[in-house]
Symmetry: none
Subunit: 214 residues, 4 copies
Amino acid sequence: MAGGEGGTSRRRFEERRQRRIARRRSEILAAAARVFADKGYANATTKEIADAADIAEGTLYNYFGGKREILLAIAHEGQAPIEALLQDATGLQGREDMIALVERGYDVFVSQLPFMRTLLLEAWLDDVIFQDFVLDRFQRIGELVGAYIAQRIEDGGFRPVDPALTTRMVLGMFISTILPLLRGTAPPPSHERRHALAEAVVDLLLDGIRVRQD
Amino acid sequence: MAGGEGGTSRRRFEERRQRRIARRRSEILAAAARVFADKGYANATTKEIADAADIAEGTLYNYFGGKREILLAIAHEGQAPIEALLQDATGLQGREDMIALVERGYDVFVSQLPFMRTLLLEAWLDDVIFQDFVLDRFQRIGELVGAYIAQRIEDGGFRPVDPALTTRMVLGMFISTILPLLRGTAPPPSHERRHALAEAVVDLLLDGIRVRQD
Amino acid sequence: MAGGEGGTSRRRFEERRQRRIARRRSEILAAAARVFADKGYANATTKEIADAADIAEGTLYNYFGGKREILLAIAHEGQAPIEALLQDATGLQGREDMIALVERGYDVFVSQLPFMRTLLLEAWLDDVIFQDFVLDRFQRIGELVGAYIAQRIEDGGFRPVDPALTTRMVLGMFISTILPLLRGTAPPPSHERRHALAEAVVDLLLDGIRVRQD
Amino acid sequence: MAGGEGGTSRRRFEERRQRRIARRRSEILAAAARVFADKGYANATTKEIADAADIAEGTLYNYFGGKREILLAIAHEGQAPIEALLQDATGLQGREDMIALVERGYDVFVSQLPFMRTLLLEAWLDDVIFQDFVLDRFQRIGELVGAYIAQRIEDGGFRPVDPALTTRMVLGMFISTILPLLRGTAPPPSHERRHALAEAVVDLLLDGIRVRQD
DNA sequence: CATGAATGAGTCTTCATTCAT
DNA sequence: GATGAATGAAGACTCATTCAT
């Protein structure tokens, strides 16, 4: 009886269920990312994760296959904002564009801090994380920035540097400026501070610190 | 009877014993550094360390109070070469001096790779390691480089940048260039390669990548 | 919906859970007391305790913080019956009262044998156990018996002996009579036997063994 | 050459060697008894024993087959003074004889404290120690005292008590009076104190505490 | 004989995962 | 689906005993 409606209501129920599951997964991931960021994957216990997510330990296993799968899901989750950033990163032209891009990079790290911290930490040890979630993106950024630099060298705007190496160094400069945040020894920088940091990075990249002698 | 000789032979014996102990401690530390560098402190087992050092598990405890003490000894061990480098780092003048200094920095990392890798990895999580063995040195480097930059700004050689921030970014650039080595995805660079890397770092620092437009 | 009933059912569930936990704790304590009584705390392994309690080793740690905490819980557990006995021990008058009291003392030891055996054994070495769980009660017994003896001396019923020393000796007599049981070389005495032992203790205390010569 | 003298000197050497060995064994036993008395056999380490005896750990094994053998030797060592006491204990007659005997009992405990403490402690757990070194002597004491009591009952001097049980209770009284010393919570009693204690024990045994009503 | 470093079996404890309720 | 107690494999550490020097 009420077959059609039954189907509709069942579908609605199913949708709501799916949303509830997705929401719960996200909550768990956010909690786990905080714990992993704080103590590292190896030192974190499933009990701590469950407590942070305010659920029972066993419930974790209804949403994830195990501790490691949670880590992989976190790594996966951390990809989206970087992907978005990479999408917009085409068509760099001048200093202002570059500054804006670096600022957006800061935004990603600030808004996703536990994810990023976990990702970078575990990539240091875990080859799967490193290959699939860090190296991969790093190479895409490398291609992007490298291509830009190569093109600017071609048109005479940049010195004939090694594009890949320079990309690497820019990223090093970038990361170094938010290292205290990643390490947890400093609070997130204000928007003004982020802007100033971005300017410093871009200006050092473009002009170095030496005063023009000519 | 033969008191004097007895004393001498006992002293010699004692010296030899001390040397044997020191040597064994070093062997264990080197083995442990390799294991820690490979799997991280938390994932490394005392059995693995013992196997790597080719001794029995219990023997570890004749030389160190426990796993954590081994880690601290590694952190301590890694300080000497950096201290030496810092001693020599005064009196930077021009580009060549700076390149030489950066090259020596590479030498330290290359020759002490497992120690450095372990140190940087664990400092990420362990506040004691971070404070006592990383932040401390980092601040000394910061003072050194920062003072140099500030002085060069004063005499008009450098643009009026933030010395502390710039120091941080230089270190970021430096580290980024040997990251593949630290991460274990690349072999140690040749001396030529190290020289080229050092030049790239210093030139980027001094002049940036932009071609003079005037 | 069904809020009240939900609350009630949850509360009932919670109560049942608490009872289950308490029961399990008691089972573990009883098993551990048997093992400790048999081999001593230091020689007992957590594996043996777990086996005696018919649970896995790890389960112990869901109920107690560790091996030593189990020992302390045993010591604590053994206090209740002695406290109860001390409550009733006021108002001794004549020989019959005293015999009844000694008999109740036997009952405590017989019914709590592993607990008492463990307690006395470990108090011999462990200062915490000794101070908090044995000396304390011993002093209370001492005060009680000592006060009684002192009063009877006053009213001329007893010789002018040292009350504290006499109390100590009575306890020595008492313990000596169930030593084979405590040591595990004899089965628990029957009620008749306990009565006879109690009479022997009290008569020796009151009259000694010498026939009146006058 | 010098064959005869060689034999003599070898014999002398051998005797001296035997004495040296015996002396060293005694030193080790005394040290071990102190350690065992303090922490118990199970909690004492061979390292602690060696340190207490001021020798190296390995040297222990030149004199004893192992830790347990040291314990057995201690138990054995503790027997001699008690044997001596038992030899002299025949021919008790009156109150004074008994007091003197009890005093000698105190002397044995005071002079051999670590041995006695170790012996009683380990006999509580170790069946071999208990059977061979404690029960055995206890039974001999029991026969001696029991026979005396039985005889005095026969001749009308004592009430018709159970000789074995009474013996047990006397020993309980005796032990109880030096329990603080054995437990380590009181210093050895002075000679005067020992005499007073012995009088208290014997008087309680003979006359109890009740004032004669006749 | 004395020494003390080396050994590895044995112990307590933790924790990811399972599963009955 | 949620819960959390039960599990047992694994890990850090101890210590009696051995043995090369």
